[in-house]
Amino acid sequence: MARSKALLQGVLDKNADPLVARWVELQRKALKSGQLEASELESQSKKFVKALQSAVVSGDIESINTPAWAEVRDLLEEVTRARALQGFSPSETATFVFALKEPLFEYLRRECGKDADKLADEIMTASTLLDQIGLYTTEMYQKSREQIIQRQQEEMMELSTPVVQLWRGILALPLIGTLDSARTQIVMENLLQEIVKTEAEIAIIDITGVPTVDTLVAQHLLKTVEAARLMGADCLISGIRPQIAQTLVHLGVELNVVSKATMADALSLSFRRIGKVVIDRKTKKESGISESAAD
């Protein structure tokens, strides 16, 4: 193996520049135009060949998991992450490595001349190495994508559980989407924190945007209501659609909470509870403050 390492090393040392040029050309052919800046591609390729050179000199070419390959791995990670973020497909990302095969083999062939056995050996070694690097790229691609998905999930979770203050002492919690235990946890935490912050007495949980309410969702809702009660705030549930009301009864779920059909009804009840009155301006002129609440 030592011999083949020397040869590979020699090829990389002698032909680094034309190798990069040919490699970049091949990559550009494989990629759609405009996907990546030519200058960026070239600098990435140059850096990679340089890192590969030093790794081949100092390290083992059997496995790329050794410390000598750290620089190559870091570089691959960086390139792959950038491509994953830009929306490249896995094969487009892997092309970065696999396009190197053709020019590299070409130079190896020139080096070996007519010695077919030696050439086969060399190509075998180089191919194994590049395959390893290619697989590593794919793995990194996968990892980056997973990270992106996870981050998006978290962002969605944050976005989908807003707690709004409707009035001094009244909070609204419009729920949109399915309620699972992870989300209930976040909803609960947000709500309780907001109760402390705003010193709210009443929280209206609006479930207009919850597509289905089964026993589990009902249980989650009740937990939230219970936790709010422990913090000294009363909960009202609003936006129960007729379909959902039927389902709840059929399932035998009892929501032992004050529930109102619409958020407006719940708000008017909340006003009454905190002793506020909403008055029509006309009525006020005619008869003074006599109407009780906003219903």
Binding site: E189, L230, M231
Partner: protein, 132 residues
């Protein structure tokens, strides 16, 4: 042994639990509190747990017991100042403290006790009286 102070505010008693409770302390507190309710003829008991980071089933049961005892002695119990994390834990544990009224802070707790006492005393008459 440490003792938990019971402060009197008007006709309310304020108990602020600042340290971790254990059996003997809880029993002593129940003893002290019931005595104090009787001697001071208090109508409300406020238990402040804002300093507690952990409320387990033991404390939960103790709070329920105190509420039940006070009710027998004609005093309402309000637990105030529960932290969000504690509330979530209690709910997850299935300890909803159903026998206890709750309020956000001592201020709110006092207002709540006032309201409950007024209701019990026939608030209708009083309210009319106040409006006039």
């Amino acid at each position: 042994m440490e003792q938990i102070p019971i402060l009197k505010i008007g006709d309310c008693l304020l108990v602020s639990i600042q340290v971790d409770m254990h059996d003997r302390m809880a029993l002593a507190l129940q003893d002290d509190l019931t005595n104090k309710i009787v001697t001071s003829r208090a109508r409300g008991v406020m238990i402040d747990i804002s300093a507690l980071e952990i409320v387990d089933s033991f404390i939960g049961r103790m709070l329920n017991n105190i509420a039940a005892m006070s009710r027998v002695l004609d005093a309402v119990t309000v637990v105030v100042g529960m932290r969000p994390a504690v509330a979530i834990t209690l709910v997850e544990l299935g300890l909803a403290l159903t026998g206890v009224r709750t309020a956000l802070n001592v201020d709110r707790g006092l207002a709540l006790i006032r309201k409950i006492i007024d209701e019990q005393d026939g608030a209708g008459v009083l309210d009319e009286y106040r409006e006039n």
